[in-house]
Symmetry: C3
Subunit: 263 residues, 3 copies
């Protein structure tokens, strides 16, 4: 197995500037997650400046959690700029199955060749064009049900696809991994999935093997969740402890604690 910890040390060495166009609920948490991990977050979205800014960053992430027409234009402009500049970008298709507006926005974004897509099982199933029962941002489908869809989506788009849940699944089409790190309190804290998307962006910046970098980001975040769960008294203290753990975990901790299996 790869040394997952090396992806964390590489990310920290680069301290990448990550441009995030994300939803209002996640912005603060995502910025704090990136700072705690050792990356440098920037949030801006307006079409007047998004495409000018993106090439200054080492990675871009786009999350459609609270979209509106002007934001979708900014997302498009940044995704295009990232593709043209060769900057990896990550798509987080929040609740893509819920409305026609989201489906249309994501369909346009897929034209710009995301390096990775991270979602829950319902979102990945919806994105892959299969029937999904997802209502909001919470998944109604188990991760295992989305593995085939994830592989197909990876092959169709060329993106690494990460399906997150109790046990995550990551694939680039031919290869696949399951990541068992995590804690049951994580779904009780808002915007952790969105924040993980930011971390995937940070790990992708400059990575040679994007699928392995994505796996490392998921294992790192899940390991931080395990540490937080060991000390937290509830979802409030969990969020606090998660940020502390993200800052405290070393590459050696991650190498020892990652629970990853090929799939």
């Amino acid at each position: 197995m790869p040394d997952w910890g090396s992806h964390l040390s590489e990310m920290r060495r680069r301290a990448p500037l990550v441009h995030n166009i994300t939803n209002y609920v996640a912005m603060n948490v995502m910025a704090n997650v990136l700072l705690a991990a050792g990356a440098s977050p920037a949030m801006l979205h307006a079409v007047e400046e998004a495409a000018e800014f993106t090439p200054l960053a080492a990675a871009l992430t786009i999350n459609i959690g609270t979209p509106s027409a002007p934001w979708v234009e900014g997302m498009q402009a940044s995704a295009r700029a990232a593709r043209e500049a060769g900057i990896p970008w990550v798509l987080d298709p929040v609740a893509v199955g819920a409305t026609a507006f989201r489906r249309a926005a994501v369909a346009r974004l897929l034209d710009h060749a995301p390096a990775a897509i991270r979602g829950n099982a319902s979102e990945i199933l919806a994105l892959a064009g299969m029937a999904a029962r997802g209502k909001g941002a919470d998944s109604a489908d188990p991760v295992a049900a989305a593995e085939d869809a994830a592989r197909a989506l990876a092959q169709r788009t060329g993106a690494v696809v990460a399906v997150t849940g109790p046990v995550d699944f990551v694939t680039d089409g031919p290869r696949g991994w399951r990541v068992a790190n995590g804690h049951p309190t994580m779904p009780r804290v808002t915007a952790l999935g969105c924040s993980l998307t930011g971390l995937v962006g940070a790990f992708l910046a400059g990575a040679v093997d994007r699928a392995q970098a994505t796996v490392a980001a998921l294992a790192y975040f899940g390991l931080a969740g395990e540490r937080a769960g060991a000390v937290a008294a509830g979802p409030g203290s969990f969020q606090v402890a998660l940020l502390d753990a993200l800052a405290a975990i070393t590459p050696e901790d991650l190498a020892a604690g990652a629970r990853v299996e090929p799939a």
Copy 2:
């Protein structure tokens, strides 16, 4: 007196999806409050999708804290969709007395028959058309001064009206209750009133007696505040402990700890 704890167990059994169109300050806290309590939050606001999404939810809440013209259109569309689908919705008229723009937005929203209205005394007085001295989101009027206005507003609109403060007042017109749960640190943490509006939405979803469900939501939130205040060292640790308490409180705790009197 009713068994207030039964409203909490009913809410948790339903785990309602609550669609919230709220202000930027409150979004993250409100989502975390709903998740800690056992509900499922969704935040989205764009007129392109709001009305399509609302009927998927079990309740809707609308808060005018940081309004703009496009958001007001989304609020209108969702309020209309909620009324047409028979989904209860809660209005939070933040600082409605402060500007003409807010008064106009709220006047239009009132056409769509909110199931409940939650505000501080200044906001309820302004809404009831009486003189108010409220400047920002903090109340300049005591709760008791708004009781008559609240009863009149409830009778005029058909909504349950909740006036929150050191002792809350809830009325559906004929009936009234005072809820003494709470803690003095609560006004020192931002967006707790806004978050409580989300909880009222969660408790209203599927409730038979909407006034009693509102009372239960207020007592539950205030009880969590009491628990947080017993362990917190200041407003920062208070917010953390509040989320932990919301997750930890059982229906039995609420039945024993609710301090509610008819009024």
Copy 3:
């Protein structure tokens, strides 16, 4: 040296309503910082109401972190209203060097005579028209490199200029101070600089000596950071402890703990 603690007691006595037009990442933290300190925050931005609301406040702060065209119009309207009403306002030129859109927005805002400008060294250098290497919201230049630029900017604009970093520098042109309070974890938590801008606004409300009030706000925030750093286990618990410390610090604590030198 002045009694820096008196600025804190004066601010708490006035409990000023501070109107903030800030970025999405900072909104919640900034509101909590102002509440913990003893001020009353209000966040609203729409051009339909911003100028109507600003004169109700005792201070205004404007932060261009996540700008868009409609927000820039609201910022302009409020800055104009503040100038006309004689209300002090603070400019936070986040990443002003990064895009043409930001530079244009800030150039227009400078027409409205800010009472203070707070930024990191890269931002102040960019604002002063000198070469800057700033990429995102994090500074690529040391504070000392921006002292001359800050003095020139203060003299050109009439504003107090605060350059924040490991040791802050404050100047009104002729006078200058260095503020050594602070903690290395502060840059690992998002939006603390933005939140400090809110505090500067609160301290400016009604202050006779605006430069000294700005120094006091910076020393107070830095002292809270020192207290937080003494108990925190990482950036998550740091943010919680910072809010607790802001509420706990007395004017006497600030008088004793401020580490300020003329410069």
